[in-house]
């Protein structure tokens, strides 16, 4: 498997197999191609931070001379600070709330980093539990993204139906884990699961989704809104965006959980058009794939003995080191680096997928018209909450 660049975290460049310090600092502003001066009659159209069209707060400065988008730059208005000076447990709560919709992915990446730092491996059931959570999250996220796309197209019936399914997924999660967003589910000692995962229900949901999904793919007008919209330069992309372009980029192949995924036989889903349509295709396939994986995991609700933690509880004081954890979140590679100094966490670096996707979004907007913006935006599955967060 060849090495690929994933993105920048802290002062480092993260590659699929190593982390290296950035020698020359180049500006990585979320701006698309720099304009050659402002043409006559152009203006900077301010979209956001508070919009009705997008779920989260985000500001976009769109340079346009009417409808046609020349350049676009995105600024995250909500910048949240998470203190690392608190206990690991409290920090974990913070990590959960970096991005509620990817909470399981974040927590898993974070804990994996921590475990790598200490060189401990949790019981297999715990790992499987985390995988199950991530895949559930993936299903929900892809359903939500599809729903957003249909909503922007004024496609009322599928939009309503998909929203219905999203709610159903949330209920399945809520029943099994007690919380719809996996808050308070994962701990240093494993994860809490109050009830069996309702697989038949989940299967029905995914079947209904596939029905809707095939239906919307039949609609010429809807497809027309996605095709050719938001073409990305493929090399530096991640997640569904990369796979839409046919690349084998997936942390489930080269990330920390790759082993498990390998054992349960994970198949990568790819498409051959690097536009919003391709990204939708990939998501559509991944929903079924995720369901298949979850089915194979057969995780059970059970108590975990805490023995496996002794390793680090022994020399927790005075330990110094660091670890990296990377998983495939629904929108692409998600990585944490945790640095520990004398038993306390001294540094937390985060590479959220949305940061990379944001750059891709901006570069893919030039030449688009305003009405196509929401479609392109949603197709990346960007969450500003994880972009605008810093660990202090």
């Amino acid at each position: 498997m060849k090495t690929r660049l994933i993105g920048e975290m802290g002062g480092y460049l993260l590659y699929s197999d190593h982390l290296e310090e950035i020698k020359t600092t180049k500006n990585t502003s979320n701006t698309s191609q720099e304009g050659f001066g402002r043409p006559v009659g152009s203006l900077i159209f301010q979209y956001g931070p508070a919009t009705g069209g997008l779920i989260e707060s985000v500001g976009m400065n769109i340079e346009t001379f009417g409808e046609y988008i020349r350049t676009i730059s995105v600024e995250p208005y909500k910048m949240r600070r998470i203190s690392i000076s608190r206990s690991i447990e409290d920090l974990l709560l913070g990590v959960e709330r970096v991005n509620g919709n990817f909470a399981a992915s974040h927590v898993t990446a974070f804990l994996t980093a921590l475990e790598n730092a200490y060189g401990v491996t949790p019981p297999r059931d715990v790992i499987l539990g985390r995988v199950a959570q991530i895949e559930l999250e993936r299903i929900r996220n892809h359903l939500l993204v599809t729903q957003r796309l249909t909503e922007h197209a004024g496609f009322s019936v599928p939009s309503a139906h998909l929203l219905y399914l999203v709610e159903e997924v949330n209920r399945v999660i809520g029943r099994a884990f007690g919380h719809r967003y996996f808050y308070g589910v994962n701990t240093l000692r494993g994860f809490r699961m109050d009830w069996q995962l309702d697989l038949p229900m989940l299967k029905n949901i995914v079947d209904e989704f596939q029905e809707v999904y095939r239906g919307i793919l039949d609609n010429r007008v809807f497809i027309d809104r996605l095709q050719g919209n938001g073409l990305v330069s493929i090399d530096d992309s991640i997640g569904p965006a990369a796979r839409a372009a046919g690349l084998m980029y997936d942390a489930r192949l080269d990330g920390d959980l790759a082993e498990v995924y390998g054992e349960i036989g994970f198949n990568i889903s790819r498409a051959d058009s690097s536009d919003a349509f391709g990204r939708l295709l990939v998501r559509g396939q991944e929903v079924s794939e995720s369901l298949r994986l979850i089915g194979k995991l057969n995780i059970r609700a059970q108590e975990y003995e805490e023995g496996w933690l002794d390793a680090w509880e022994k020399d927790i004081k005075g330990f110094t080191g660091g670890g990296l954890g990377r998983v495939e979140s629904p929108s692409g590679d998600l990585a944490y680096y945790v640095g520990i100094h004398k038993g306390t966490i001294s540094k937390v670096l985060l590479l959220p997928p949305s940061k990379v996707n944001l750059r891709l979004f901006c570069s893919s907007m030039t030449g688009n018209v305003f009405t196509d913006l929401p479609f392109n935006w949603e197709s990346f599955g960007i969450w500003m909450s994880e972009v605008g967060v810093e660990f202090v």
Partner: protein, 310 residues
């Protein structure tokens, strides 16, 4: 004279008061088809009633035009409801004020004032929508005019009431020119009332065309704009029903006028059914495809003009 006044009163009130209901019914059904219990059919009335009681926030640099423009446009809509056969099948009091073409010009007068009133807010979002509406205007206005003339030329008069009577004759009704005009006008109606596949009342600011005209308004002016919107949809829709699709069944006399309101309700259920199917099965067109939609409507209407003379 008195009779005509009463009939006019029934027609105008029948328009102003009933118009919101049809939007309510359409929305309700649309909601039900999209898996929901959905809001009450009276929701438009509830909204208007609430807005009329709310405060009006005016952008700092806006003038009276912003505040009182909506009152004027509402007035024009009411005037139009005197003019065209939207309830009663015979001319009523003040009907001759303008003919069919005059009606079309009054509609563009409304949009002219509406745009100025909205732009007076100096909001970029309004400007965005207005610039779109303006760029499609040339086809929309043209189609409205030519479609009215399609019937005018086949009947030799520009009087909508005569045209309605004329079309009710099966041989005229089934004539190619009439059918083409019917289709063309329906396509235009979809555009004028912001229905799919042209526009949909969503939350995204980026897709706004008609919605942008009310984006900055609030309180009473907003209520009047919304209400005016319902009336516009009703006027154009009823013209389509009474002159093009179903030019039959209108009763005369004061009692007949009341009957006609019921008749219009029945006719509207048919229109709503058609729209419901369109609204629930179509997706929104890409912006620049909208001109194709309108171009088709325009060409159809021109063809119907040509067929009517040759």
């Amino acid at each position: 004279m008195i009779d005509q006044m009463v009939e006019a009163l029934i027609q105008v009130l029948g328009t102003i008061l009933v118009a919101p209901l049809y939007s309510g019914i359409a929305e309700k059904l649309k909601g039900v088809v999209s898996l929901r219990r959905a809001q009450s059919v009276l929701q438009p009335y509830y909204d208007l009633f609430k807005l009329l009681k709310k405060e009006t926030v005016v952008p700092s640099s806006a003038s009276e035009l912003f505040v009182y423009g909506p009152y004027f446009t509402f007035g024009v809509y009411v005037l139009i409801s005197f003019v065209i056969p939207v309830v009663y099948p015979r001319p009523v009091f003040l009907t001759p004020t303008v003919d069919f073409l005059g009606g079309a010009l009054l509609f563009s007068l409304v949009s002219f004032v509406k745009v100025l009133s909205a732009m007076d807010s100096k909001s970029n979002y309004v400007a965005l929508g207005v610039s779109r509406a303006a760029s499609f205007g040339f086809l929309a206005e043209a189609t409205l005019i030519t479609v009215f003339f399609a019937v005018a030329i086949s009947t030799g008069t520009n009087n909508p009431y005569v045209e309605s009577a004329y079309a009710s004759n099966p041989s005229h009704y089934l004539a190619l020119d009439h059918l083409l005009a019917t289709v063309s006008f329906f396509m235009l109606w979809l555009f004028e009332t912001g229905k799919l596949p042209v526009e949909s009342q969503g939350l995204s600011e980026m897709g706004m065309i008609d919605d942008s005209l009310t984006y900055e308004h609030s309180g009473k002016p907003l209520a009047l704009l919304k209400w005016g919107g319902y009336i516009k949809a009703y006027l154009l829709g009823s013209v389509w029903l009474n002159v093009f699709l179903l030019p039959w069944g209108g009763q005369v006399g004061v009692l007949g006028a009341f009957f006609d309101i019921g008749l219009m309700f029945a006719k509207w259920m048919i229109l709503i059914a058609i729209v419901l199917v369109a609204e629930t099965s179509l997706a929104k067109l890409r912006l620049f495809k909208i001109q194709d939609h309108l171009a088709i409507a325009f060409v159809l209407s021109v063809f119907s003009l040509l067929f009517s003379v040759i």
